[in-house]
Symmetry: C2
Subunit: 495 residues, 2 copies
């Protein structure tokens, strides 16, 4: 006779690339997002929480006629009556849903529509160390505002956001560039061939790594890289490459100097000139509101999202140093970025709708605040009322009710009360500032023992009640003074 096979127990694991967030990880992020939302709101932006699930068609990353969407998103097919319904997917950012929302609700929404959104997004990517497939984004966008005043506003707001969450002035820099200037440079070079344009753009992206001389080589005949391999060049004559080099090295001592250098780099290109004018306008608008180059600066080296943006682009960088996992100092780097994109809503409606916006890397910004000690530290644990006598549970509950009514975080120990050491270990694990102890003797005498755990050293593994009572950080108080004496501990008065 065959044995009945026992159903194996399910594995208690998150799916690969997913994780859980506990306690302070959750509340610190929530507090940071609250602070950011406050700034967005003050700037007139309205909250939007769009559905986490979209049709693949609306997300627009995949063709609707393939059997199964490609990698990149988590997608599944709805089962309708005929068994083949719409393909649905989890949103992979907050911008694609904004386009769908604006196209769907444009008759009820004000124009311009300033909106902010914050929440998880999902990416179906290969998970790796520190790379998760669910993470938070926090965006603000203005839809329907063609003027660069909208871009300037986003930059000013980004500066205010960083200061609001605790990054002091001087520890961040918002760098602004314009996609039109780059296009102007390509125009000034007289490039017609798209493949050659792409090759030039890829070379520009390498400036940070190879420097001016390297870029000159790569735009010309080619270059021997550090590994000894020879990289073929774009094949431009050296004077034809000049506008790119001029563009890359155009950062001057102030905005006026940078703008003059950029104007020279774009030569006679009308689009380039327009881009430089827009940067000038942004600089003027920001200066009028008091946002100087110590906070927001024109910087041609910002090349983010080359293929995506249609006008101004910006990036917020934290300029202080942290120590990396190998103990070396390095700059913290980028925590937010964005720019102008004008073809977002057009997919749905056929009409171009100007839009500009910023996305804050929530986890990176939070990591920065933690790295500099601006959030974190010891989370506030609850006062733990221990249980010496199970029959007195109502009395212990009364104590915590009083503490809570005074606004103090407090709880009764609800595990098995037999081993008193376990109760104190529990209080330790919770980061409790104080433990309250009362047995039959205390109840008779109308007192409680209060253990100051902030003052007290680490909790000994197997201390008995008697040993605990002897320690100087423990004291007796009349039952009626429970709340007042705990408040003293929390206020640090007893220290």
């Amino acid at each position: 006779m065959a044995k009945v096979k026992k159903q194996p127990r399910p594995k208690a694991e998150t799916p690969k690339g997913f994780r859980d967030y506990f306690g302070a990880e959750v509340t610190e992020r929530a507090a940071m997002l609250d602070a950011i939302a406050g700034v967005y709101h003050r700037y007139g932006f309205e909250a939007l929480e769009s559905s986490a699930v979209e049709t693949v068609e609306a997300l627009g990353k995949f063709l609707p006629d393939v059997d199964r969407p490609n990698e990149g998103v988590f997608a599944w097919q709805e089962a309708d009556e005929e068994g083949r319904g719409d393909w649905l997917a989890l949103r992979y950012d907050l911008t694609a849903p904004l386009a769908r929302v604006y196209a769907q609700h444009r008759n009820e929404l004000p124009t311009p529509y300033r909106r902010f959104a914050m929440g998880p997004v999902w990416r179906n990517e290969k998970p790796g160390p520190g790379r998760f497939r669910q993470f938070y984004q926090c965006d603000a966008d203005t839809v329907g505002a063609p003027s660069v005043a909208a871009d300037a506003e986003i930059c000013a707001m980004l500066a205010d956001v960083l200061e609001e969450v605790g990054i002091p002035r001087g520890d961040y820099l918002i760098r602004v560039n314009n996609r039109k200037v780059l296009n102007g440079v390509l125009e000034a070079m007289g490039l017609e061939d798209e493949a050659q344009k792409d090759a030039v753009l890829r070379t520009i992206d390498k400036f940070d790594k190879v420097g001016e001389a390297g870029v000159r080589e790569l735009l010309g005949k080619g270059r021997l890289d550090a590994s000894g391999a020879y990289i073929d060049g774009v094949g431009l004559a050296s004077d034809q490459a000049e506008p790119v080099v001029a563009f890359l090295t155009s950062k001057g001592d102030d905005s006026a100097a940078t703008l003059a250098n950029l104007r020279a780099a774009v030569g006679s290109s009308a689009m380039g000139a327009e881009g430089v004018d827009e940067l000038g306008e942004i600089a003027d608008l920001l200066a009028a509101q008091g946002y100087g180059p110590d906070r927001i600066v024109i910087d041609p080296s910002v090349v983010r999202g080359l293929g995506y943006y249609t006008g101004p682009v910006f990036e917020a960088e934290l300029t202080f140093e942290i120590t990396d996992e190998k103990g070396r100092p390095r700059q913290f780097g980028s925590v937010a970025g964005g720019g102008r994109y004008d073809d977002l809503v057009k997919r749905f409606t056929g009409q171009a709708v100007p839009a500009t916006g910023v996305s804050i890397g929530v986890d990176r910004l939070l990591a920065a605040l933690r790295a500099t000690g601006r959030v974190g530290g010891q989370a506030e644990g609850p006062v733990v009322v221990t249980v010496m006598d199970r029959a007195k549970m109502a009395e212990y509950q009364k104590m915590v009710a009083e503490l809570r009514q005074a606004g103090i975080r407090a709880e009764v120990y609800l595990g098995n009360p037999k081993n008193f050491g376990n109760q104190l270990k529990y209080a330790d694990r919770r980061g409790s500032p104080a433990a309250v102890i009362a047995g039959s003797e205390e109840f008779e005498r109308g007192v409680v023992q209060i253990k100051d755990l902030i003052l007290g050293a680490e909790i000994a593994e197997n201390a008995t009640l008697e040993e605990w009572k002897e320690r100087p950080s423990q004291f007796e108080a009349p039952r009626g003074e429970l709340v007042a004496r705990v408040q003293e501990i929390l206020a640090g008065v007893r220290k």
Copy 2:
């Protein structure tokens, strides 16, 4: 030659059964959840945000060996190297993930583990009017606490939560029952046959509808229902049905009377007696903390989740009347419920872990607060600085910067400024308390026009600037007094 078929535009629509939330809908919910989190935190509960995506295996609602999970959740299969990976799914509640989290992290988590969680959950159900496939839950659970003190704590916390969000005492009632009492009643009846037990449970569920006499008929020979159809009875003799009737009618004038009636109903059943004892203990613990029957009451008619809970069950009901969509008054009804369930973690670890918790229906509670005017009303729109002269954009930006620095929500109009009427219509649409107007004349004279939109009546469709200036709710102020005068409007001083 075949024509090149043009790609059709994607539809700008949420998937069926999903929706977006705008402005105050988002911020009011967030504020309510914040208030709830504050109470949970004060009771010693820790935040947990688990992954929105779980393995189908861990969720446990489906067999892992079927090709595609059944209805109920949104699920998809991971594509691994061999093309067949784990089945993943969106969580359908916050309790199943808690079991997985506790089983996975139990060595690092304190025991008891008090945790709260709030966030969206997803159900793959047929959408209907007012029924959505993504909605919020807000739960608090204590894992690893066997004593009913944990259940009593949840009930007290629930009362505090309701008062904290704005439901006054007297407008809600938390009703507590115990699954063991019901089991005791079945024992007292001497029922052995499982099918007969189920039939009795189904009959108990109909008490609200058919009353005591109806239940007697249904437990006996059967009953002619309102539609004229004859419903077969369970076939019990009338004395055998007595414990059920006694149970259903056991609610007395106070807890002591109810408990005495319940004790009679369970007869000699040990499990029933244990259930009644637990209810008595809960009543005592709550009374000691001052939670009287005006807030929390023993009520045998609470029969929620018959098959699921193993001990105390509770439900929070709002007792005030609202007017339904047909204009009839009705009680608002249940907004939260929960109870003790002890087999949650066992699936993973093989060891029973006692647990109890509550889930608040976020959308229903918010609807209740809105229905009674406790949240909602007019959301605070931004002060709108209108644009009369595009060349003065920097000056307008300076004005909003000053207003924001004073903590006032403000923005410059960033749409096309040509039609001034559109700017005022925009301000109206945003619910702006004030609009600021300054053209070349005002700049020359160093003044601004301020339009008090709170005082002002509805905005006329095509008003000219001149007509606007004549209205009494508009006044002129020196430029330097902009912030002060707007503050007066916001404070209602000018009213």
